[in-house]
Assembly symmetry: none
Homo-oligomer: 191 residues x 2
C-alpha cells in the first residue's frame, strides 16, 4: 500500500489515551466511533488501537513486549530464568523496593552486581491493572491475587499492596472509584 509502517503521531497517541480514559480499554471500535477522536484517528483501525495501547502499556512497564515476556512469569516454566520478587526496606516506594534476583547459576554473562534494581511494587500494580483489564478496573483483592499468581511474593505482600494502592491513589497515579482502581490519564500520558 501507500504506507509501509505508519508511525503514530503524538496527536494520535493523545487521542487514544483520552479515548481509553473515556470508554475504557477493549472498546476500540467505540473509541474510533467517538466523534471526539475519529478525525484524529481516521487512518487507524480498531486493531491498530488495540496494538498501540498494548505497546504503550507494556513500554511504560517494562520497556518492551519482549522484556515483559522475559521478565514476567518464569517460576513455573523454567527454573533457570526464574525471577524472585523480594522487597527491601528503605526504598522509593514508601520503604519498599522490588528487586529481581538473577537466577542462581545460569548465564556466561560478565560479572553483574548481585542484585539489579528491576521494578517496584508500584510497577507491578500498574501491570496488574493493565493486564486484568476489567472494564472499570480491578479491585484491590484482584490486584493482589494477580500479583501472587504471577510472582513469588513475600508474606506481607497484602499489606504492601494495600498501602501502595492508597499512596498511588493519593498521588494521582491511580483513580479509585467504587473500590476499583484504574490508571490515571496523567500516568499514561507519560507523566
Amino acid at each position: 500500500m501507500g504506507a509501509p509502517k505508519q508511525k503514530w503521531t503524538p496527536e494520535e497517541e493523545t487521542a487514544l489515551k483520552a479515548g481509553v480514559i473515556k470508554h475504557g480499554t477493549g472498546k476500540w471500535r467505540t473509541i474510533l466511533s467517538d466523534p471526539e477522536y475519529n478525525s484524529v484517528l481516521k487512518s487507524r483501525s480498531n486493531v491498530d488501537l488495540k496494538d498501540k495501547w498494548r505497546n504503550i502499556s507494556v513500554t511504560a512497564l517494562w520497556g518492551s513486549r519482549k522484556k515483559a515476556k522475559l521478565a514476567l512469569k518464569g517460576p513455573s516454566s523454567s527454573s533457570s530464568t526464574a525471577i524472585t520478587i523480594v522487597s527491601l526496606a528503605n526504598g522509593d516506594d514508601g520503604g519498599q523496593h522490588i528487586y529481581a534476583l538473577p537466577p542462581p547459576a545460569a548465564s556466561s554473562e560478565p560479572p553483574r552486581p548481585f542484585q539489579v534494581p528491576f521494578t517496584s511494587v508500584d510497577k507491578i500494580i500498574i501491570e496488574a491493572i493493565t493486564n486484568l483489564k476489567k472494564p472499570f478496573g480491578p479491585d484491590g483483592k484482584s490486584i493482589l491475587r494477580y500479583i501472587e499468581k504471577n510472582y513469588k511474593t513475600q508474606p506481607d505482600m497484602k499489606r504492601l499492596v494495600t498501602s501502595r494502592l492508597k499512596y498511588l491513589t493519593n498521588a494521582g497515579t491511580l483513580i479509585k472509584l467504587k473500590h476499583r482502581y484504574r490508571i490515571s490519564p496523567s500516568y499514561m500520558a507519560g507523566g
Copy 2:
C-alpha cells in the same frame, strides 16, 4: 553471545533468492518453512533472511544502506536536502534520464556540476517494487504513487513510468503478472 558473525554462503544466498522469487519478499517465515530451502537455510532465522535480502537489494541499487539513505528521500522532510527528479531527452533508458538537482541554496560544498547524474527511472522503479513489497508485486499505479511520494517529479512522470515498465518487462528485468510487477530472478542474481 554465541555466534561470531556467520557469513552468508553462496548456497544460502541462492536459496534466499529462489525463495523470494517463489514466495515474494516479506514472506521470510514462509521461505524458511519451504522444504525446498529449509535445509540450506537451516541456521538462519526469518529476521536473518529479511536482513540479508535488504543487504542484497540495497547493494544492487545504491551500493550500501548508508548511500541509499543519503540518496533517497528529501522532499517532505527537509527542503535543504530535497532531491528533484527531472528527465532529459536522449538517455540510456529510452530517451530519458533522471537527474538529482542539488538543493537551490544550501550547502557550503565545493562547486558541483549543475546537474549530477543520479539514478534512472529504472532504478527508482526497481526501488519502488522492492520497497512496496507487495506479496505479488505492486501494480503500476502503486509504483507511480511511490515515486511521486518520494521524489519531486516532472508532470509527465506517469507516461515515463508506464513506458519504462513496459520496456523493463519486455527486457526481462521485470515480470508482469496480473497487472503486478516483480523483479526477475536474473536481475537480483546480479545480471
